[in-house]
């Protein structure tokens, strides 16, 4: 009973604090056009449709200048809940995470609406329609489609075979999402190694490579990059971080291979001969077609300009709605085409995607003040942060460090906006993002790689990490504790690798 009381007190304080904030004169819903992503060629930011202006543009930048820093408290609490509750109150968290998310969203949303009325309503609707809905639809479609692909057969986990699985995972992750690739390969990977004694390090490297680093090449790969895409970063821009991704992947794969070989020899492991061999086979291959459809739909939305549509006062590109509709249809087509038995054999469940949807509504709503203040640049209460992060390596390490302990998607968006506020304060998002991709590409690279790579540093850095951990533990593979993972693996293998990347590229 103590916990709800604490929540009630926090909620009350949040209301009181926001009530004490100065109310802007023109806090009505501004008539600005929607952000969407920048139209034009996906590879040519210069061809961006200049008529699209940002909803976070000059129209109501004043809200970011007025909002006090403590209006970010619900966002911080939301992220801290994600970081601490699975550790401190796992059972409570497992059954009530949706309520916790709703609570923090309400703790920000109610006083925000009360004080800023139309302006606040606009911001909430904007972040839901422009960011949250397409974000969840993409994750849902990738999760649904990749959940219909099943890899059967008796693989035997030798160092070579394991390394090949990891390489395949890294390649797939950018095209089917880190979640999709991880869910496709983790069970065959665990089955292949069920005769091995020490499997923990294998799963940890699987999380490093397949559930995180591999997803850095396209906006489909990792949620932060898709958020960047929604805000105007072109689809193929992320290929510019291929050298960074290759460096991290190759280093980690080499380390993995030597570790696996060492343990393989030490264990004296030999492939069991008595087991019946089942030939390798991929079922539900037609889902690769749907996956192709997902890639095509996302690409399409970046290449065509069908105009805009106003829904609930939010202007959004028609091609973005079209993309979301196609993604939903592809997901449904996959559900219809894939036999239930195949999904059951894949141990497919909706629970993880429901979790992500429930938690991210809280994240997106509570992060509104933080984003607005950051966009206000030197005029906002987070000017000190903007002044503090100057060099590319600052962005890399700060985005990265926070991504390790907070979810990397909101962290990416926070520093993406920090960069915009820092370099292009006063410009609309549609004007600023193409400049950031070209003039100051190194900063965007630092933010992108920081968010994606460091997501691997802890179980809470990226959503697939906890799914892989859960599946591994269920199958009997002991996994390190939260801090054990960081101290025994991230600090030893990841941080030195990232230091090399930082030295070479930033």
């Amino acid at each position: 009973m103590r916990f709800p009381k604490i929540m009630a007190v926090i909620f009350f304080l949040s209301c009181v604090l926001l009530w004490s904030a100065p109310v802007p004169a023109g806090s009505h819903a501004p008539e600005t056009t929607g952000a969407g992503h920048t139209a034009g060629s996906p590879d040519n930011p210069a061809a961006a449709n200049s008529t699209e202006t940002s909803a976070h543009g000059s129209g109501h930048a004043n809200l970011g200048e007025i909002l006090p820093l403590w209006s970010c408290i619900p966002f911080a609490c939301m992220l801290l809940s994600i970081a601490l509750m699975p550790l401190l109150l796992p059972n409570f968290w497992h059954h009530h995470f949706g309520k916790v998310s709703a609570f923090w969203a309400a703790a920000l949303g109610i006083p925000f609406l009360w004080i800023f009325k139309g302006g606040a309503l606009y911001e909430i609707l904007h972040i839901i329609l422009v960011d949250y809905v397409p974000f969840i639809i993409l994750l849902w479609s990738l999760y649904t489609v990749s959940g219909g692909i099943l890899l059967r057969g008796s693989l035997r986990g030798t160092p070579v075979v394991n390394t090949i699985i990891l390489i395949i995972g890294v390649i797939l992750a950018s095209w089917m999402g880190t979640t999709g690739a991880a869910m496709l390969l983790i069970r065959p990977f665990l089955r292949a190694n069920n005769y091995r004694k020490n499997r923990t390090f294998m799963v940890v490297f699987f999380i490093f490579l397949v559930a995180n680093v591999g997803g850095s090449l396209t906006p489909l790969g990792d949620p932060p990059l898709f958020l960047g895409y929604l805000h105007g970063v072109t689809f193929f821009w992320t290929f510019k971080i291929m050298p960074h991704m290759l460096m991290v992947s190759v280093l980690l794969l080499i380390i993995y291979f030597f570790l696996d070989t060492y343990h393989y020899r030490k264990e004296g492991a030999s492939v069991p001969k008595e087991e019946a061999k089942e030939p390798l086979k991929i079922e539900g291959t037609y889902n690769f077609l749907f996956l192709g459809g997902v890639v095509g739909a996302v690409l399409m939305s970046g290449m065509v300009d069908l105009g805009e549509i106003n829904i609930l006062g939010i202007h959004r590109a028609i091609q973005d709605w079209l993309r979301d509709g196609i993604l939903v249809l592809l997901g449904i087509a996959s559900l219809i085409a894939t036999p239930i038995k195949l999904r059951e054999d894949n141990e497919f469940t909706w629970f993880p995607i429901i979790e992500v949807a429930s938690l991210f509504i809280g994240i997106f709503v509570t992060m509104i003040p933080c984003l607005l203040i950051l966009k206000a640049g030197a005029h906002g209460d987070l000017a000190f942060l903007i002044n503090m992060v100057e060099k590319p390596y600052h962005y890399f390490w700060i985005t990265g460090t926070l991504s390790s302990f907070l979810d990397n998607a909101p962290t990416y968006l926070t520093f993406f906006n920090t960069a915009l506020g820092s370099f292009y304060s006063g410009l609309t998002e549609a004007q600023a993002v193409p400049l950031l991709m070209t003039e100051n590409a190194i900063y965007l690279k630092a933010i992108s790689t920081g968010a994606v790579f460091f997501g691997a540093c802890s179980y809470i850095g990226n959503a697939p990490n906890f799914m892989v951990r859960s599946i591994a533990e269920e199958s009997g593979t002991p996994m390190p504790s939260f801090f054990g993972y960081i101290l025994k693996y991230s600090m030893i293998f990841l941080i030195p690798t990232f230091a090399i990347v930082s030295l070479i590229f930033f």
């Binding site: 239930i340 141990e347 909706w350 629970f351 979810d407 179980y459 269920e474």
Partner: protein
């Protein structure tokens, strides 16, 4: 057909043990062993958001289930029936079907579970999902049920469910199979009620001669069913009705004091079963009686 080996699945809801006791009556007709099964839904213990797997909770849930089952095993043993325990984590329906196949059971017994709207949309009815894919008969047990009849709230206890089964036939092959399965209840069932409903949709707009011909044909078929059952050494009575099939079947079961409803698996396609619901689906959901569905 003999129900020698039964899979009894339970969520340990109230009166689950009473349901089990009603099943043990089958000992008289050859029941040898019961596989006590409890499936912990995977979502209960896994995918803790940003956490992982609740291993301790799983162990605790398994221990609790095992202790309850071990207590039940004593009662089962008193009836001279063997039993085994299966407690797994997974998707309940898939696990039940998988264990049934692995163990080679002759009958799956499951309790009624109310589903949320979302679950209905995704999975359809619990029993229909299992029946649609099961190769063995499925009994949906309902020990104590509250239901409404003539604007009155009534409570019914289904304790001697094999006493007076009502076989509802639509003349399909699964209905034939259901009739054949009645032989398994020879020592238990006093009388088998055989019923058929001429559906209102079929008879609507039909001329009197055609309707009369269908009625005659139906009665003749019902008599044939009864003769077959009598050849098993059991008594049978038949009833013909017309109207909305589901409502009529429920009414017939109440009017003639049936103790359970036996039906063949309907031949609807999966789309109709999921979204519209077949007769067996609706009967399983609506009737206050246990429903035995034969594939």
């Amino acid at each position: 057909m003999i129900f020698k080996k039964i899979l009894f699945h339970t969520h340990f809801r109230e009166l689950a043990l009473n349901s089990l006791k009603t099943i043990m009556e089958l000992k008289k007709v050859g029941l040898e062993s019961i596989i006590l099964t409890h499936i912990i839904p995977r979502d209960e213990v896994s995918f803790v958001p940003y956490g992982g797997y609740l291993k301790e909770t799983e162990i605790q849930m398994k221990t609790e289930a095992r202790m309850r089952f071990e207590d039940w095993q004593k009662i089962i043993a008193e009836h001279g029936i063997k039993s085994r325990i299966r407690i797994e984590v997974g998707a309940p329906n898939a696990e039940i079907l998988s264990i049934a196949e692995e163990e080679g059971v002759d009958l799956i017994v499951i309790g009624r579970k109310k589903r949320t709207l979302m679950e209905k949309v995704y999975v359809g009815s619990h029993i229909m999902d299992i029946l649609r894919r099961s190769t063995v008969p499925v009994l949906m047990s309902k020990f104590m049920v509250q239901f409404e009849w003539n604007n009155e709230q009534l409570t019914r206890t289904n304790d001697h469910i094999f006493n007076r089964p009502m076989l509802a036939t639509d003349w399909s092959q699964p209905s034939e199979n259901a009739m054949q399965s009645m032989s398994a209840l020879k020592e238990l069932a006093k009388t088998i009620l055989v019923v058929h409903v001429i559906d209102a949709k079929l008879s609507k707009g039909m001329d009197r001669d055609r309707l009369s011909s269908i009625e005659k044909e139906s009665k003749s078929r019902l008599q044939n069913y009864c003769r077959t059952i009598e050849q098993f050494g059991m008594s049978a009575e038949h009833h013909l009705s017309a109207g909305k099939t589901v409502q009529e079947l429920v009414r017939l079961s109440r009017d003639h004091k049936a103790s359970m409803i036996v039906m063949g698996k309907t031949g609807k396609d999966w789309f109709q079963e999921y979204w519209l619901g077949g007769v067996s689906h609706q009967i399983a959901e609506l009737s206050e009686l246990p429903v035995l569905l034969i594939p």
